[in-house]
């Protein structure tokens, strides 16, 4: 079975490397970016299943990065993980297509199931899209 590919995006380097180590120990394929611009290029290169995205970062912020990721890869699932955490902010993120909105400090037992659920949802979406595409082809034939 293919490993779950996760992209962690956060300007807190110690946090993101530690979390990456822990996820790798759980057999996940993890790549890292420290700001929004880097996240877009790593996503392009690594094609992750799920992105864990910080809300506040220097340069391109979390919300802008979310918009651009969703624009380039509509089926890509993004989980916002932030220390900011306002109710209004959460609604905006979900409206923009985020899979979930988690507040720091988040327990790994809280994050892991969501990563798996997000990945599962992404594959289901892909499958549904493929089925729909195949059905259309058959109909055309």
């Amino acid at each position: 079975m293919t490993k779950l590919r996760v992209l962690l995006v956060d300007d807190e380097k110690e946090f993101v490397t530690t979390l990456a180590d822990r996820l790798r120990m759980r057999d996940l394929n993890v790549c890292i970016a420290h700001n929004g611009e880097e996240a877009l290029s790593v996503a392009e290169a690594e094609n992750p299943d799920v992105v864990v995205l910080d809300r506040k970062m220097p340069g391109l912020g979390g919300m802008e990065t979310l918009k651009l990721l969703k624009k380039s890869w509509p089926d890509l699932e993004v989980i916002i993980l932030t220390g900011h955490g306002g109710q209004k902010d959460e609604k905006v993120a979900l409206d923009l297509g985020a899979f979930d909105y988690l507040r720091k400090p988040a327990d790994l037992h809280e994050l892991l199931p969501r990563l798996k659920m997000a990945s599962k949802q992404r594959w289901e979406k892909r499958k549904a899209a493929m089925d729909s595409s195949t059905g259309k082809q058959k109909d055309n034939q």
Binding site: F15, T18, R22, G59, G61, G83, H84, P105, D107, L108
Partner: protein
């Protein structure tokens, strides 16, 4: 009203009224309101009444002059007719008898008896020849016709045909006057004079018979040309004695009526010289006596003035007291509202701080959480022996994160300590850094460039730390909101003079339109439609004023804005 004035409302000292302390400045305001309102309402009424009374007095005086003038003129005519009648009667007697008959004393006695029937008050008769020698005499009053050649009435009779004497007092004490007529003797071309002595009471009786329409305090009598009464004055005294009032009876003026000043009262002297006699008809009166019915409405206006004044003063007191009560109440409400607004703003500042603090603490906490999780993972998920170096690195990371959290909580505690208003020496440079610490990281996310230019030689100022922190937090938050991502905020300070420090916070944002500049410190004025309360800068303004400082803003569209705060090095003592 500014927060300062609202504060004054509650800080001013005053007296205890109805169990409630009323600040002294309200008492002063009450006194000014009463004095001003009373003056504005009473002065026109008083002036109007005085002018009205003055005009009334002038009118009454003119009417009195006219009345007295008519009265003395009528009386003179009446007395002239009265005396003429006596002269005519006497002339008739002189014509009926020959000189020889009249020189005979016995005949003259008979003539006297006969003549007294037609000549009221006749007491005696005398015949005087052309040389002024009395030839005969009958009846009483012999002394009046003694040595007639030296008497004026004889000269008048000789020259004009008739003469009248002043009143004299006879030996029996009664007053008498003499009427004389000349008769020419056709037989020798000479003349003789027939003189009649008449009781002076006849003059008084005639005077009493005149309908003079004078009040009880008016005096009327006949006088000689020197002012000696010829009839008994109504107000007392006797004939041939000075008038009891001491009135200066001077009849030298050409006019008939004039004002004499009697012990401050404007009395009116009216007189008329009776032609061909030494007698003068005299009236001494006052406008009040003559025009009593007109004086009443004039004095009425003073009563109306008095009643109006009482009413106006009562209304003024009621109005001023009510007005001040309402102003005081409104000021108290306003002070309460401003206090609540200030409190709300402080809470908003705390909320803003809390959001920033939460973010700053959650990040190191999450590092601690992940490091703890990693330690657990290393011990439970792998069979490898513990990597000492890695464990130490994890411990360092945890310690660093704890240090980060501690720095934030210490800063927050420092902020919280300053919530109670106190005056302490404050290093503005350090204070600005404290405020920036809460904003700098958030500003970093937006790539804002924050610069400070603060001379190290600036003196510490005496001020309220909490209020100053709130002032600069509000201005800086405003500046950060004004600039785009990547924008610039410059903070500079300078010692303007030995007692003033100027703090300038300049941003390169969009700038503030001129129409908004005028209103920027007004409460509830905001251009941040979605999230602004419109309280931040108005509270900032109030706080700066309360700290004895001054704040202004300059702005240019497209170039940015500069907020300038001038603070006193030594905080002025509050009233």
């Amino acid at each position: 009203m500014t927060a300062e004035s609202a504060d004054n409302v509650s800080n001013s000292t005053g007296k205890e009224v109805a169990g409630k302390k009323v600040p002294a400045r309200y008492q002063r305001l009450w006194i000014y309101a009463v004095l001003f309102t009373a003056m504005v309402s009473l002065v026109p009424v008083v002036i109007l009444t005085l002018v009205n009374a003055y005009q009334y007095d002038r009118m009454i005086e003119a009417e009195t002059f006219s009345f007295v003038g008519r009265l003395v003129s009528d009386a003179r005519r009446s007395f002239e007719e009265f005396l003429q009648r006596h002269q005519d009667t006497l002339a008739k007697v002189a014509g009926e008898y020959s000189y020889a008959q009249l020189r005979d004393p016995e005949e003259l006695d008979r003539v006297l008896i006969q003549a007294s029937e037609s000549l009221d008050g006749l007491t005696g008769l005398a015949v005087i020849d052309a040389d002024g020698t009395r030839q005969s005499h009958a009846g009483r009053g012999e002394e009046e016709t003694r040595e007639p050649g030296r008497r004026q009435w004889f000269t008048d009779a000789e020259l004009r045909g008739a003469g009248i004497s002043e009143v004299t007092r006879g030996e029996d004490g009664t007053g008498r006057f003499t009427v004389a007529v000349r008769r020419d003797r056709w037989e020798d071309g000479r003349f003789f004079v027939l003189a009649a002595t008449i009781d002076a009471e006849m003059l008084a009786e005639h005077l009493a018979s005149l309908d003079l329409e004078l009040g009880p305090s008016a005096d009327v009598f006949l006088a000689n040309r020197d002012g000696l009464p010829q009839t008994r004055p109504r107000l007392g005294g006797d004939i041939l004695q000075r008038h009891p009032t001491g009135a200066p009876l001077d009849f030298s003026a050409a006019k008939d009526v004039e004002i004499t000043d009697q012990s401050g009262d404007a009395d009116i002297l009216g007189y008329a010289r009776i032609d061909d006699s030494p007698l003068v008809f005299v009236v001494l009166t006052s406008p009040k006596d003559v025009m009593e019915d007109r004086i009443y409405p004039r004095n009425h206006s003073f009563w109306i003035l008095g009643v109006s004044a009482v009413f106006l003063l009562a209304s003024t007191l009621w109005f001023a007291t009510n007005l001040l009560r309402r102003i005081h109440g409104a000021d108290e409400q306003l002070a309460e509202v401003l206090h609540n607004v200030e409190y709300t703003n402080r809470m908003a500042s705390i909320g803003r701080l809390a959001a920033g603090v939460a973010h700053e603490i959650n990040n190191p906490l999450s590092i601690i959480e992940e490091n703890a999780g990693l330690l657990t993972d290393l011990l439970t998920l792998t069979d490898a022996p513990p990597d000492r170096e890695r464990f130490l690195a994890i411990a360092d990371s945890v310690r660093n994160s704890v240090t980060r959290c501690a720095a934030i909580t210490h800063g927050l505690l420092g902020f919280a300590k300053t919530m109670e208003p106190t005056t302490t020496p404050i290093d503005l440079r350090a204070l600005i850094e404290e405020v920036l610490n809460f904003e700098r990281r958030l500003a970093g996310y937006r790539n804002l460039n924050i610069t400070t230019d603060i001379p190290k030689t600036l003196p510490a100022i005496e001020s309220d730390r909490g209020q100053l922190q709130q002032v600069f937090l509000n201005i800086l938050t405003n500046a950060f909101d004004a600039v785009d991502d990547g924008g610039r905020v410059d903070i500079s300070m300078e010692l303007r003079d030995e007692n003033t420090i100027t703090v300038m916070i300049t941003d390169n944002g969009h700038g503030i339109p001129e129409k908004n500049l005028k209103r920027i410190f007004e409460p509830f004025f905001t251009t941040k439609l979605e999230y602004g309360t419109g309280l931040g800068l108005s509270i900032t303004y109030g706080l700066v004023v309360k700290l004895g400082g001054h704040i202004n803003v300059q702005s240019e569209i497209g170039k940015g804005s500069t907020f300038t705060v001038r603070l006193p090095v030594k905080r002025p003592t509050q009233d």
